[in-house]
């Protein structure tokens, strides 16, 4: 019945996993596993590997570097200071961007007639060279 391209998968693997991880199998099922692993090498290897992996997982531990309360309070103080600085910088940047945006908006106000962007920024009329009020049409003719 085994398919050609598939590995030899034993149906007992799931039961072995449930037994090792959950540990809530019935007595009959536990006996069934014990009897099966005597004759099935694949399952015997699977059970051994699973138990070894669980033991490794239990034993594997990461130990953080040793520190004292003075060290962590100092770290915390520095972290708070850094966060405060970052927050201040971000707030100033946001305020500057907002101010710049408002300035551009006011300058480019569509309700205010202006021929060029340059004129929009030129508050000083003497700089508005194309304005008729500064240079009347007949100014050069006189």
């Amino acid at each position: 019945m085994k398919e050609l391209n598939k590995p030899n998968i034993c149906q007992m693997t799931e039961l072995i996993l449930q037994d090792t991880i959950s540990g809530n199998l019935s007595k009959e099922q536990q006996i069934e596993i014990q009897e099966h692993i005597i004759i099935c090498e694949t399952c015997r290897l699977q059970q051994a590997k699973l138990k070894a992996d669980i033991d490794n997982w239990r034993e594997s531990s990461y130990q953080t570097k040793a520190f004292t309360i003075a060290d962590i309070l100092e770290n915390s103080r520095k972290k708070k200071l850094r966060t405060k600085r970052q927050l201040t910088t971000a707030t100033l940047f946001a305020a500057a961007s907002l101010g710049f945006g408002i300035a551009i908006g006011v300058a480019l106000d569509p309700s205010k007639p202006s021929a060029t962007v340059y004129e929009a920024f030129a508050d000083d009329y003497s700089l508005s060279l194309s304005s008729d009020e500064v240079f009347p049409v007949d100014f050069f003719n006189e």
Partner: protein
């Protein structure tokens, strides 16, 4: 018991020596539990320190209804879980996730073999650690406290601030999910 009360009083008085003793006592426990939940060494280092800062700041509010160990377990687990929550939110709003075909939760909930294989390829962990990463945070925490720390269900309920039946359900679902995730790996690995 009186010794613990005196120790807690020393902590409440912010005696540095008592705090250093507390760190020496609980740093290995917190490192172990937090690392098993977040699976990140740098983050574990930061989170363990944050737990002790929290103890320093809030020891005055410790009502002594549970043991000091249970309270510290709770602070550690809460830190680890809130870190995972923030990480999930960051992942959800990242451009990478928006434009990738898989949604963040999709990869975690799917029980296909490739997800487990991906974790193996990226980080050379053992099968149990890799499969644990596929569990939801609460289930992961309950499983670690039960299988690794050997805590009873009532103790886990106190640490996770939930009911005993909820803990039973979390541990049961965690084990079922692990069996489901690990099955293709062990079948292919050995056969």
């Amino acid at each position: 018991m009186n010794q613990e009360k005196a120790f807690i009083q020393a902590l409440k008085n912010k005696e540095e020596e008592a705090f250093n003793q507390l760190i020496a006592m609980y740093q290995p426990l917190l490192s172990r539990v937090i690392f098993k939940i977040v699976s990140d060494k740098d983050e574990t280092q930061d989170l363990v320190q944050e737990v002790f800062i929290q103890v320093w700041e809030s020891i005055a509010f410790f009502k002594e209804e549970s043991s000091l160990k249970t309270w510290i377990y709770r602070l550690g687990i809460n830190k680890a879980l809130s870190y995972l929550k923030k990480k999930d939110i960051r992942m959800a709003i990242s451009f990478h996730t928006w434009f990738s075909e898989k949604k963040p939760t999709e990869g975690l909930s799917s029980s296909n073999e490739s997800t487990l294989s991906d974790i193996f390829r990226n980080e050379d962990h053992n099968a149990i650690s890799a499969a644990l990463k596929l569990l939801p945070a609460q289930q992961r925490a309950a499983f670690v406290l039960s299988k690794q720390e050997g805590l009873s269900n009532p103790e886990i309920a106190t640490v996770l601030n939930t009911s005993i039946s909820a803990v039973e359900s979390l541990v049961f679902r965690a084990k079922q999910r692990l069996v489901k995730e690990l099955l293709p790996y062990y079948q292919n690995k050995i056969s």
